[in-house]
């Protein structure tokens, strides 16, 4: 059973009288992908900045790998890698020099520097651009270089603040691919913030944050189970029989020709229908609830951005 690499309890952040983050608590299990999902201004980046030691908390306790982020800044800094929302590369240096500088800051053993840079760049398919000056790269490429740089010192936790904001669909899909690959290959813990539903879908564990408070927190699977319902669609030759069955169990359904659609998380019900009406069913489909449903049912609104 892996332990918690990030522990946050009763964390509050105020800017003047405004509470950007209001008494939140959560843990992140080592080796998992954890996502903070919420609209812009919900307090996601504030939390990341405090975890990354560049913002001082107003109240609460935040620990990474057992070290208090306020008390042991240098130990915490050595354990983490960060990809900020906006670019933090030196635009006048080459890709290699940016990563080399990072290795110097994080005291990566000299003899390993080249090997690690090659490894990190190949993970995000940027090895061919090693000698290019950053200034000339596209936004997507820069983001990939930043991800490579964030992990070249082999951090325990990699923070990704809105890793694909502003990127095109193809690049976003690639970056999610890299993130998954990274977690599998290095068993690295990934903490990311996002306001995209599709992006949050790649995580194991999710916290929905809005107005500085955590509205829900759990595994992706549990949240979907709890806050959304699966949609079952059945094509049948004998709609009357199925209608009678569903009415008897007071399940709401919609009928359109031979197609009956209903919401339910009750797997047994669907299995029972399948076995009872085996002969008349021509098609059966179950779709798990989406994160969007979860988000809607928790916050009562679409994600604002």
């Amino acid at each position: 059973m892996p332990g918690n690499i990030i522990e946050v309890s009763h964390y509050t952040q105020k800017y003047g009288d405004f509470k950007a983050v209001d008494d939140i608590s959560f843990n992140v299990e080592e080796g998992s992908i954890f996502a903070f999902l919420g609209p812009n201004g919900a307090g996601k980046s504030t939390t990341i900045n405090t975890l990354c030691t560049i913002l001082s908390k107003t109240d609460g306790m935040l620990k990474i790998n057992g070290n208090d982020v306020a008390g042991h800044k240098d130990r915490v800094r050595a354990d983490i890698g960060i990809v900020f929302q906006e670019s933090t590369l030196d635009n006048n240096l080459t890709v290699f020099d940016n990563l080399k500088l990072h290795c110097d800051f994080y005291n990566v053993p000299y003899e390993e520097v080249k090997k690690r840079i090659d490894f990190a760049l190949s993970l995000v398919d940027m090895l061919d651009w090693k000698k290019s000056v950053v200034k000339g790269l596209s936004g997507g490429m820069k983001r990939r270089v930043e991800i490579a740089r964030g992990l070249v010192h082999f951090p325990r936790v990699l923070f990704l603040d809105e890793p694909t904001a502003g990127l095109d669909a193809q690049t976003r899909a690639n970056i999610w691919e890299y993130i998954r690959k990274l977690q599998k290959q290095k068993n690295i813990t990934i903490f990311m913030t996002t306001h995209y539903m599709e992006e949050a879908e790649i995580c194991d564990h999710l916290a929905i944050i809005d107005h500085g408070k955590i509205a829900a927190n759990g595994t992706l699977y549990d949240l979907k189970r709890k806050y959304s319902s699966s949609v079952t669609r059945i094509m049948t030759g004998d709609t009357a029989a199925l209608r009678g069955y569903l009415d008897a169990r007071s399940v709401d359904f919609k009928e359109d020709g031979g197609l009956i659609t209903f919401h339910s998380n009750n797997t047994e019900l669907v299995l029972d229908i399948a076995s009872r009406f085996k002969s008349s069913i021509t098609d059966l489909e179950i779709n798990k609830g989406t994160l969007n449903d979860v988000y809607l049912s928790i916050t009562g609104k679409e994600v604002r951005s």
Partner: protein, 274 residues
């Protein structure tokens, strides 16, 4: 050490990378030297060694201005976002500060040395121990004003604001420091300003060495404008040196403090298209 070295080398590289700025940094003082060497042909009365007086003034002014200006590089780093990469790194804050300060000091001292060499061709007369002394003071002045510059830069919100601040500070400081205009020629209402001016002490020790005044009695030093009487208290060039050392320690400490406290997130950044 590794972090200091990499911060230092990167700052030097970004300075030499900016070719236009590089050219102007090195050309400007030559104009000064050229113009003033003509004016000084008719030396003001009461000044001994007018050429040494003038050249030492120009050199120290150049070193101080360059050091102050070079620190502006960090504003660009803050605006481009790169500063965040530095401040989240597990590097002690004093090492970040010292890397930055040394880089800007090195450029300033190189510039001072170039002027010193040119000076020898147009009439600067010094022996090796005095030259060594001058280089030592240039290093100290470079360090002090790079720290002051870095501290000011860390407080400003944009490079244009910093530039305005520097030009508002630089001209008056230079004029009332005795670097170009002898302090004895200053009107008395400007005297208080003179004593609060870090550059005054810098000019004093620099001039003391370049005019080879170590054998002069104190009252003669006061007459020459390198020692100052403040009531019954006399600030000798040696005391001036101590004042500069204390000042550099103070401002360096303030820089480290800024790097510790600031998250630099309030600085205006240009939105990049991702």
């Amino acid at each position: 050490m590794r972090a200091i070295k990499s911060v230092l080398l990167r700052s030097l590289a970004s300075f030499t990378g900016d070719k236009i700025r590089l050219v102007f940094t090195f050309i400007t003082p030559f104009f000064f030297m050229f113009i003033f060497s003509f004016t000084m042909k008719s030396a003001p009365a009461g000044l001994m060694q007018p050429m040494n007086y003038l050249l030492s003034g120009i050199i120290i002014m150049t070193v101080f201005q360059t050091a102050l200006n070079n620190s502006m590089g960090i504003i660009d780093d803050i605006a481009s976002g790169f500063m965040k990469e530095i401040i989240v790194a597990p590097v002690p804050r004093w090492q970040i500060s010292i890397g930055q300060v040394l880089a800007s000091m090195i450029i300033a001292v190189i510039q001072g040395l170039m002027l010193l060499i040119i000076g020898f061709f147009i009439g600067f007369r010094l022996d090796p121990p005095h030259v060594a002394g001058l280089v030592g003071v240039m290093v100290l002045v470079g360090f002090t004003f790079s720290s002051i510059g870095l501290f000011l830069a860390s407080l400003t919100k944009s490079s244009s604001a910093f530039q305005v601040m520097v030009s508002v500070i630089v001209l008056p400081l230079t004029l009332v420091s005795g670097a170009l205009i002898p302090v004895t020629a200053l009107p008395s209402f400007l005297k208080p300003l003179f004593f609060f001016n870090p550059l005054s002490y810098t000019a004093s020790i620099f001039r003391f060495i370049s005019l080879k005044m170590e054998n002069l009695p104190v009252d003669e030093l006061i007459k020459q404008g390198v020692a100052f009487q403040l009531g019954s208290f006399i600030i000798t060039p040696q005391a001036a040196l101590l004042i500069i050392v204390l000042m550099s320690a103070l401002f360096f400490g303030l820089c480290v403090h800024r790097f510790n406290e600031a998250d630099f997130s309030s600085v205006k950044t240009f939105k990049h298209h991702h």
